[in-house]
Symmetry: C2
Subunit: 431 residues, 2 copies
C-alpha cells in the first residue's frame, strides 16, 4: 500500500481511480470503531486548521467577487468560523449513525444443502460532482467513509482553494489513522475534460452522484458510462381536496402548510411548485393565496383560479403551459383548478416525480392518492419539505434521488451500500 | 385507455414507450390475484396456440439455416412442443412466487409527528434487450407482469416470427383480462437504430436490462441514457486451499466440484474460468486436472502447474496473460499456482466480479475470503453454478447483475421493484 500513499504531482483522473480502488479494498473491511475514529479525527483537523481553511476560503471569495459572480453564488461559497464549526459537528453526527455494513439477511438453507445469505457491503468507489458549496466536500467525505466507500470529489472551479485546504485536513486525519489518502481525493483540475474522464471510468468507479442543477444531471446522464444516480428536476405538487376546506380550521392549516411548503426554503428541491385545487375547494383559495403572497410569492394562475383571486382583489399572473411541470427554486408557484382527484392524479402522473402531497380529510381519497402517485415521496397532510434525510430518519443525506434504480428519495449511509451473496457449502455440486 | 389499445401499424419506439407508461400505471395497482390470472391466461394461450407458435418458429429456423447461422445459434432459436410446454409451465411457476409489491417497512413516528414508511412498488417500464432464445420473450414478460411492470422487449432479428406469435398469445391473454396491450410490447423492427431509440427513452423507460454477451452490455452502457443494469462479463474463480487437500476424500470432492463448476454447463456465466491452486496443494492437481480433462476441458496452465501436469503425463497448453480475467463460456479453463490466500485475494481483486469460491477446511481462511472478495457471490466449498435465481431461492431470474447499483446477482421479482416514501401527517410543517 505504501507505494500508493504518495499522490503523483500530476495525477490523472485514472490515477485517482486506481488509488481509490486500492483504498476501497481497505475501507470495506474497516470495523465501525475505526471509521468513527477517522471521522472524529477529521472533525478535530477541521477545528485545528480553522485559520488555514478560512484563509483559503477567503481567497476563493475574493476571486469570485473579482470575477463578478452573482451574490447568491458567493454566499454559498463563503465559510466563516461558525459555518466551519457546523461542518465539523455534522461530521461527528455522521459518526454516530448506525453502520449498515456487515448486516446480513438470515441464512436460508436451500434444498441442495447450501446455506445462503446476503451481506451488506460498501458500493466501493463513488464519484461525486457538485457545485459551489465547500461544506459538501466534507459532508460527502464523511458519509462515504462511514459507509466504507472511497470517494473522488469534483467540486466547482470557484472553490479550488477551499477544497484543497479541506482535502488537506481529511488527508491528515486519514494518515493519523493509518489509512490511505486514496480514500478521499479531490480532482484539482477544474477542466470539464477531467469530469468527462471521471464519468467514463466504469472499470474503477461504481457510481456517480451529481449534486446540482438539472443541467449537471443531464450532462452526467448523457456522458457517463459509470451508473449515475440522478436527482434531476424535482417537481412538487400539493393537491387541495374539497374535504379539507369544510372547516375554517382546516383552511387555516392548509394555508399555513402551503406557505411552509413554498416559503420556508424556496431554493430547495422539495419546495412547492404547483398547487392543484379541487374546484369545490375554490372558496379556500383566497386565504391560501394571501398566505403565499404575504410570503413574497408570485402566483401564476390558470383562468379559474385567476377569477377567484381577482374577486378577492389578490394579484396573480396568467400561467403558461410551461409553468406546469416546472421546478421554480424561487418564490414562484403555479396554480391550477381540477375537477377532482382523477384529474389531479392524471396531472401528477404527467408532471410529478419528486414529492406530491394531498390535503384531505377523506381516508379513501388519501389511500387512492398514496397508491396511484409514483413519486419518490407521497404525503398526506404534511409539508413536502419533510422529504429530507434528517426528517425521514436517515440522519444525513448525500443527495435526493428521483430515479427508481437503487435508491429513491434521500440517500443516507445505507443507500451508499450494496449486498453480496454469501454461500456456505460442504462440497455441494449442481445436479 | 381505449384510444391506446390499438397499436399504430408503424408505431415508433417512442409510441411504444408512451403506451407502456400508460399501461404501467394500470399494472402498478393490480392486485396479486389479477396478476396470477394474467399469467395463467398466458400459459393457456401458449398451449392453445401451440401449432401457430411452432409454425412461426419453424419459419425462423428455416431462415436461420438458409442464412448459414452457426448450429449452436440455430439450436438456441429452435422451439418444439416440449420446449413450449416448458415455457408455459415456467409462466405458471412465476405466478406462484410471492408478490413483493405493496410490502411496507414498519411505520416510524418521527419527532415532528409525521409517520413515515417505505412501500415497495414496481419499477415502472422496463426495456429488455436479448438475443436468440424466444423463450426469453415469455419468461421476461411473466416476471415483468408479476412484479407490476410494463416491458418493451427487443429480441434478435432471427426470432422475429416466433416473437410475433408469442406476443400475440400474450396480448390475447391481456385482452381477456381487460388489460392494455401496452403492458408487453415487442419492437418488431430489428434495426439497430430502434434499439438506440429505446436506450435513450429516459423520460419513459425506468431501466434497461441487457441479456447477452459482453458486446451487447458494452453497447448499452456506451449509448444508454436510461439506467442500465449490467451483467457484463462474469469471471469465475475457484481457489483450492492447501487445507482442502490433506484428506484423499477432500481431493476427490475438490475434483468433483471443480469438474461440476466447469463441465455441467460450460456456456453459463457462472461456470469456472480460472482455478487458483495453493502451491502446497499442487499434489492434488493431477486428480483435479484428470477430472476436467475427462470432461473434455482444455487446460491453460502457468509454468508451475504445467510442470505438475507434465510429470503426471496430463496435457495442457501454456497460459497467456490474457487467459486470466477471461470469461471462456466454453470447455476451457486457466490454471495458476499462488503462494497462499493473500496472493489469491489480490488476484481475485484484480480479475473477479461475478462468483468466486474457496475450497478450504480452515474456518479463518474461509472467513477472510468471504470478507475480502467483493463479487456478486462469494462461496465456501460449493459449486459456483449455484449462483442462479432458482438455486438461491428467488424462484426465477430475469438476469444476473454484476454491477453494484440496485441489484447484485440474480434478479427476481423483488429486484424488478423499487420503493417510495409514504408520509402521513396531520398538518405538520417544517420549523
Amino acid at each position: 500500500m505504501r507505494a500508493l500513499e504518495e499522490r503523483p504531482p500530476h495525477a490523472s483522473v485514472r490515477d485517482l481511480g486506481v488509488r481509490a480502488r486500492a483504498a476501497a479494498r481497505v475501507l470495506r473491511s474497516l470495523p465501525t470503531a475505526r471509521k468513527v475514529a477517522v471521522l472524529q479525527a477529521i472533525a478535530a483537523e477541521l477545528r485545528g486548521r480553522r485559520a488555514e481553511i478560512l484563509a483559503a476560503n477567503a481567497r476563493d471569495v475574493e476571486a469570485a467577487l473579482a470575477a463578478g459572480l452573482p451574490e447568491p453564488m458567493v454566499a454559498r461559497l463563503r465559510l466563516d468560523g461558525g459555518a466551519l464549526e457546523g461542518v465539523a459537528a455534522d461530521v461527528e453526527a455522521v459518526s454516530r449513525l448506525p453502520d449498515p455494513v456487515g448486516e446480513s439477511t438470515p441464512e436460508d438453507r436451500r434444498p441442495s444443502g447450501i446455506r445462503v445469505s446476503q451481506r451488506r457491503v460498501p458500493l466501493g468507489v463513488l464519484g461525486v460532482i457538485y457545485e459551489s458549496r465547500p461544506n459538501v466536500t466534507v459532508d460527502v467525505a464523511a458519509l462515504a467513509l462511514m459507509s466504507g466507500n472511497a470517494v473522488i470529489l469534483r467540486g466547482g472551479r470557484e472553490t479550488v482553494h477551499s477544497n484543497a485546504a479541506l482535502e488537506g485536513a481529511i488527508h491528515a486525519a486519514l494518515a493519523a489513522q493509518g489509512l490511505p489518502s486514496g480514500a478521499v481525493q479531490v480532482i484539482r483540475d477544474p477542466a470539464r475534460e477531467r469530469m468527462l474522464e471521471l464519468l467514463k471510468l466504469d472499470d474503477l468507479v461504481d457510481a456517480i452522484i451529481p449534486r446540482g442543477g438539472a443541467g449537471l444531471h443531464r450532462f452526467c446522464v448523457e456522458h457517463a458510462t459509470v451508473p449515475v444516480i440522478v436527482g434531476g428536476i424535482g417537481v412538487v405538487h400539493i393537491y387541495l381536496d374539497e374535504s379539507f376546506t369544510r372547516e375554517p380550521a382546516d383552511v387555516q392549516m392548509a394555508a399555513e402548510l402551503i406557505r411552509n411548503a413554498k416559503v420556508q426554503k424556496p431554493s430547495a428541491c422539495n419546495a412547492l411548485d404547483t398547487l392543484l385545487i379541487h374546484d369545490r375547494a375554490l372558496g379556500a383559495l383566497p386565504e391560501v393565496a394571501r398566505a403565499l403572497i404575504e410570503g413574497g410569492v408570485t402566483l401564476l394562475a390558470d383562468a379559474r383560479s385567476q377569477a377567484s383571486l381577482d374577486s378577492a382583489g389578490l394579484p396573480a399572473q396568467p400561467a403558461q403551459d410551461s409553468d406546469y411541470g416546472q421546478e421554480f427554486l424561487a418564490l414562484t408557484a403555479s396554480l391550477r383548478v381540477v375537477s377532482g382527484l382523477d384529474e389531479a392524479l392524471d396531472f401528477i402522473a404527467a408532471h410529478g416525480n419528486h414529492t406530491d402531497v394531498i390535503l384531505t380529510r377523506d381516508g379513501a381519497q388519501a389511500a387512492r392518492f398514496v397508491q396511484d402517485v409514483d413519486s419518490a415521496a407521497v404525503m398526506v397532510n404534511a409539508s413536502p419539505r419533510f422529504n429530507d434525510g434528517a426528517q425521514l430518519g436517515l440522519g444525513a443525506e448525500v443527495a435526493i434521488s428521483t430515479q427508481k434504480l437503487h435508491a429513491r428519495g434521500p440517500m443516507g449511509l445505507r443507500e451508499l451500500t450494496t449486498t453480496k451473496w454469501v454461500v456456505m457449502g460442504d462440497g455441494q455440486i449442481r445436479g
